[in-house]
Symmetry: C2
């Protein structure tokens, strides 16, 4: 079984890797994460972060010297650890098994990646919001994601096309439809407070039919 990755464990790995991060600094990162997700980066004040973290305001500025650096610090483990693992775990799960039907294939992928979305909901929310507004973060995310997808995902899709399990469309469009359909469910769940996984069965059927060979 492939190990699951989420932002909490990634944070701990980063903390373990770069020496012992003091507990109050972890509290600052955790408080920033939750506040940015709740009310957005621009509307969150450093005073609020200090209050929720239970530290003085000066402590917020010990490791990261500006509020922008703090945002980068919150998103960094996600960009360097979580995102690559998201894609490579996906590839492993798909190629590492022989599926008896296309249904099994799509079902495994959707169930698995939607659990990932749930586990990293708060960070994904920050990224979506800030990407819509900050050009630098947008460019950075794209330049990381594109090669990641090309190396890990596209060969798998090519393989599935070859064995007649997938429609012969450009890989970027297939990825768009799969990722988009799953993210749509995340957005809907955010709006209505319903369970993210409640529609998994229909999402699987929809993708299975929509991406079947013509």
């Amino acid at each position: 079984m492939v190990k699951e990755t989420n932002i909490q464990t990634a944070f701990q790995e980063v903390m373990a890797a770069s020496g012992n991060i003091p507990p109050k600094q972890k509290q600052v990162l955790a408080a920033s994460l939750s506040l940015f997700a709740e009310k957005g980066f621009a509307s969150t004040t450093t005073k609020e972060i200090a209050e929720r973290a239970g530290v003085a305001e000066g402590t917020v500025y010990r490791r990261y010297r500006t509020k922008d650096e703090l945002l980068a610090g919150v998103l960094a483990p996600f960009m360097t650890d979580v995102l690559p693992k998201l894609v490579s775990e996906f590839a492993e799960k798909v190629v590492g098994q022989t599926y008896s039907s296309r249904h099994d294939l799509v079902a495994t992928v959707v169930n698995d990646r939607m659990q990932f979305v749930v586990a990293n909901q708060s960070v994904l929310r920050i990224m979506v919001t800030e990407i819509l507004v900050r050009n630098d973060l947008r460019d950075q995310t794209i330049s990381r994601m594109v090669p990641l997808l090309k190396q890990n995902l596209y060969p798998v899709l090519d393989h599935l096309k070859a064995i007649g399990e997938l429609v012969d469309w450009p890989n970027d469009r297939i990825a768009q439809f799969m990722i988009g359909t799953m993210l749509t469910q995340l957005v809907r769940s955010t709006l209505t407070n319903e369970d993210v996984t409640s529609a998994a069965t229909l999402i699987i059927k929809f993708l299975e039919k929509g991406l079947a060979p013509e």
Copy 2:
């Protein structure tokens, strides 16, 4: 032919309806719209709005007494005019014609509604961003949209199911897949600066297959 609706014409209608709105107030609304879309509501200052509108800062506060009211003023015509027309035009286009095939049906709808998305791109961007962060705006939008969809869209979907042109899934899920697939294209276009309508053909095929009866 059904009339197209976009935010510019809706603004003009609102201005005509509520007496003559002075030109400088129009400039304030237009400047707010573009700035909120560019850098988000929280990161836009009233001084910037005044500068882009070519007015003094006091003028910004003549009609709307707070920055929050200004946001509401920008979104109001969209909520009261554009959104209802978006849904009712959709219903008219689908029921007002007899289609020779499901392909024609989906193609008409997708092409038409994606043009709408293009025409109202900037406002949609503000709404998506602010809805993720502001509870009041989220609730307001949902409480407007849900009855709108139930009255206009759901009967059409039921009709299509009855004549065997649509899969027998809950209406809210079908709406989710259609709207989600189109909005995904908007997000992608925003990220990569590609033409929003470039993938129309594949989107039509994808939805046509995914929503076909089982």
